[in-house]
């Protein structure tokens, strides 16, 4: 008896939202979802920066086979960064701002953009370019992490720390 009463209460509670909605104009009449917050822009920029870095490393690995082992390892870490960052970006189905997600991602201030993806021709210049790109990407992440929730700030800080260690590896490879 007690269990039946409890079920009744649960069923009544579950029906309340439906009753409330049935008296309204449906979900289409609800206010549009809020615009994406600043953390979304930071996240999209971070994703775009990782994609650009992966592309640069791909070019460098093809062009300088002698550096392939070192550069492949660094690119693998960028791929892990990208995969984790993508899991943090949730695009609501049917979001009126969905097209905004498909538009070119904003750049974090100071981060190298896709337009600079082309590498310099020589090995030394390319390694120098990659160092600068890693350094710029890490610095941009540090600036961006003040605008995001704590858990994302931790991820961005960790990615930035990883990328700053890449600079030392590239410097060492350059001799």
């Amino acid at each position: 008896m007690a269990d039946r009463t409890r079920r009744g209460v649960l069923a009544a509670a579950a029906s309340l939202p439906l009753l409330a909605v049935s008296g309204c104009k449906g979900v289409g009449a609800l206010a549009p979802p809020p615009r994406p917050g600043p953390d979304v822009a930071v996240l999209r920029a971070a994703i775009a920066a990782e994609e650009a870095m992966i592309a640069r490393y791909g070019t460098a690995i093809t062009r300088f086979p002698g550096l392939a082992k070192t550069l492949t390892g660094l690119r693998a870490e960028h791929r892990l960064h990208l995969a984790e960052l993508r899991t943090r970006l949730v695009i609501p189905p049917g979001s009126p701002y969905r097209s905004g997600f498909a538009s070119p991602a904003p750049r974090l201030a100071g981060a190298p953009g896709a337009a600079t993806a082309a590498l310099p021709a020589g090995q030394a210049a390319a390694l120098d370019f990659l160092q600068t790109a890693e350094d710029g990407a890490a610095a941009a992440l540090l600036r961006g992490l003040t605008a995001v929730p704590p858990s994302l700030a931790q991820l961005l800080a960790s990615v930035a720390a990883s990328e700053s260690t890449h600079v030392a590896v590239l410097r060492s490879a350059a001799g």
């Binding site: 870490e77 540090l142 704590p150 931790q154 800080a157 930035a160 720390a161 700053s164």
Partner: protein, 148 residues
């Protein structure tokens, strides 16, 4: 850090980072005794860096009106250190723990403290990588955190 309106979460995170720095200062004292040549020079430089970081954290905590945690008289080492290999292994572990402690600092709400924590993370991650001889994708997080 402003010195005013510092929340308990910020103080707690800074205290945890300070505790890790205290342990690192002690640990490098042990590790350095088993290293020589360039490794000893590196260990000395990193030992100095941890002392500077310790002093900085203590100053930040005092500015926030908190009493900085004191160093323990001695620390139990995570493993036996009896030569260069185990000394380097200890150094890596110390840096990993310091990096993880600063990861907690990054989670606080104060933007300046966040950035301080992130820079300290990068420094510790760099030192860890130099001892380890390789980089990791997510410094500060446990290796299993993201399947890396």
């Amino acid at each position: 850090m402003s010195g005013t309106a510092v929340g308990p979460g910020t103080v707690s995170a800074l205290q945890a980072a300070l505790a890790a720095e205290h342990a690192a200062v002690y640990g490098y004292g042990v590790a350095g005794a088993y290293l020589d040549g360039p490794a000893e020079t590196t260990a000395t430089a990193y030992w100095n860096a941890h002392q500077v970081a310790r002093d900085t954290l203590e100053a930040m905590l005092r500015q926030a009106g908190a009493q900085p945690v004191a160093a323990a008289p001695a620390y139990e080492l995570p493993h036996k250190v009896d030569g260069p290999v185990s000394a380097v292994r200890l150094a890596v572990l110390l840096e990993n723990r310091v990096t993880a402690a600063y990861l907690g600092v990054v989670a606080v709400s104060d933007p300046a403290v966040r950035q301080f924590g992130a820079r300290a993370m990068a420094a510790a991650a760099g030192r860890a990588a130099s001892w380890r001889g390789r980089t990791v994708a997510f410094p500060g997080f446990p290796p299993s955190a993201f399947g890396s």
